[in-house]
Symmetry: C2
Subunit: 395 residues, 2 copies
């Protein structure tokens, strides 16, 4: 397994300095936004400040909280089942409550913690804007605010975005690794594909290939095949057996140490018509144009328009995806979005997907996706580039 090569596999976790830097940057942004504390309830934010990686978030029973005060280390407020795992993190203040306890699921200890770190009339940052949600029951959130009379909940979305949008070298190393491993798995896929396999069988074999090569999980794998093209890129594989003339897309978000890749590959089974070959070349060229446009100082909208121009010239009939790429990191998709209204300036350390897609004939889409990081001198591929022509496989 790839993981046994110590020169190649990034170390797991982060040194404490990584979390100190994150916290210091957060506190600078908080001061600027006049926030006395942040209260964070979602997995990526909790992990960003504490370093705890656990799949236990899949259980909705217990909320987890991290409080980032104006100065000093973050304080975790966690269900008792998590207290031991928290002891291995860089935090020195972890407060646990016996859980489940639906009548007071951490709310009183969280309120008490906040009263300790902020004054009686404080501005408490809680993410409330686009792409955020609150991972605790609404009724508990209202009770929390009732326990903090005089304090105000202020939208902290801009603070969180500004922090997480630029990745550290260690974060980029993890993303680069998972991109490379999955690129290799895609390159090996043609040898594995045979006419007559069902989509379910192909997807399962690909998941196994990714695990064997060193990813931790294939958390996301969607797509499917259809004669001459596919109609949806978010569906699970079906029991349908692929056959000659089918076009197969596989779009995957595999993880290493909690960091995602997110890219796709297209294959034609046995043979391909001219329209689909041409569509593939168009999205390939659009990706090249997006890459060329993704320089430090450019805007996400510039990257979008660079790709859209190629698609328009290539006969695009439309695009239901609504954007052509996005941020990538601890989540499969993060801000910003490559789309007309997004004027986010590209800066070194941002990790993005380039995802040009189009409907090229009624009921037939072609979507391509690669991952890049913005470097000081320009963009750098994190995925190994897809072949420039539609691969014909399993013939």
């Amino acid at each position: 397994m790839a993981e046994s090569d110590p020169g190649h596999v990034p170390p797991r976790g982060f040194p404490a300095t990584e979390f100190e830097t994150r916290t210091a940057r957060a506190q600078t942004l908080m001061a600027r936004a006049r926030l006395d504390a942040l209260v964070l309830t979602t997995e990526p934010e909790f992990r960003y400040f504490t370093g705890l990686l656990t799949q236990f978030w899949q259980s909705p029973t217990r909320p987890w909280f991290v409080v980032v005060p104006a100065t000093g280390r973050p304080i975790a407020v966690v269900p008792a089942i998590g207290a031991h795992a928290m002891a291995s993190t860089w935090l020195d203040d972890v407060r646990a409550w016996p859980s489940p306890r639906p009548a007071d699921e951490g709310v009183s200890v969280l309120a008490e913690t906040l009263r300790e770190v902020v004054g009686p009339r404080s501005r408490i940052g809680v993410p409330q804007g686009p792409e955020t949600h609150l991972r605790m029951p609404l009724s508990d959130y209202r009770r929390l605010l009732d326990l903090l009379p005089g304090s105000e909940a202020i939208d902290a979305t801009p603070v969180i975005r500004a922090l997480r949008i630029v990745k550290s070298p260690a974060e980029i190393g993890k993303i680069a690794y998972v991109c490379d491993v999955v690129s290799a798995a895609f390159e090996a896929l043609p040898d594995m594909l045979r006419e007559g396999m069902s989509e379910i069988e192909i997807f399962r074999a690909f998941k196994i290939a990714c695990l064997e090569r060193g990813v931790d999980d294939v958390a996301y794998l969607v797509g499917g095949a259809g004669p001459g093209g596919y109609e949806s890129i978010i569906s699970p594989p079906s029991a349908r057996h692929v056959g000659p003339g089918d076009v197969l897309i596989m779009d995957t978000g595999a993880t290493f140490d909690g960091y995602y890749c997110d890219f796709d590959r297209n294959y034609a089974i046995g043979r391909a018509g001219d329209a689909v070959r041409r569509a593939y070349e168009v999205v390939y060229e659009a990706t090249e144009a997006g890459f060329a446009a993704a320089r430090p100082g450019a805007r996400c909208a510039d990257v979008y328009f660079a790709m859209q121009r190629v698609l328009d010239d290539g006969g695009a009939l439309g695009n239901e995806v609504g954007r052509m790429g996005h941020g990538l990191g601890m989540q499969l998709t993060e801000w910003p979005s490559n789309m007309p209204g997004d004027h986010t300036e590209l800066r070194p350390g941002m990790v993005l997907t380039l995802e040009p897609g189009m409907t090229f004939a009624p009921g037939a889409m072609m979507v391509h996706e690669e991952n890049i990081v913005i470097g000081e001198a320009g963009p750098i591929w994190l995925t190994r580039r897809a072949p420039p022509s539609l691969p014909i496989v399993g013939g």
Copy 2:
């Protein structure tokens, strides 16, 4: 692969009658609670009423909504990228908005939909209680309520719980299948375990074994090993190599067609001391006691106390898990909880985990878990019972 045996593998998806029944039951409960509509934002609830299975929920960019009116079929309000996939569901009213569109991420079309199906002064059910959350930005939720003046958002948690707590035969079939497949993978694990493997290698090999046997995903796999016992049951595997005297726990939630198993297995590497052997036998016996108590008409608290009695007699020092099992289905954990305060009455069709656990020595836990369904005449094992004595492997 197991999937090629058509006599064994349950069909994917559900017939329309399943969704008609769910909707009719929902509408009966809604009438009783005087709710004019439900608005649901989370993946299991969306899937429960629409049937759409997609991993696309991992992207936080776009909310998805389903509105359950007082009469008639549910109405889906989805981002355009999901419109095609929705066309394959039983719904006949799917409304899409071009997304991402952060300034109006589905809010206006959702408000308009609600205005069509409810009167100007309506009671709109939104889950707000324990184990729920709202999967849309808080600021958008407030804007939605502003667009519906005179309407009230009422906590719909009791309605959703009552619906989902009893599983249909088709749902039970999927859970039973994934339990059986993963039981077989656990039974084969001893042949695969060798001293000197790292936890990461063991967990990866187990994921591959589960996939090869027919699960769709190993969405949850936590645990670890330690000399004479383990301290945390929610951690990811470490790079530590297991050695003689280690006790290994693996707790997994694998899925088939969107339904979970959730159970664990314990192994001793090479040899085991008396204390840990005895602890294993105690949690095994506690599981037997929980099973015997899990009869229709019993309460979850009864099941808890049946197990706790065995653990107390067996020298338990405590239990940080906070409960001894829970509901299971479209989520890794669902209500109810086997714990003192939970007086939920067991009824045929409920699927539960039995999860007795204890700290048996300082820093050493032993947690066991099996899955059962409540039948008319008593409980039925869904997992193949673990061995009655701690298996010694890889010696």
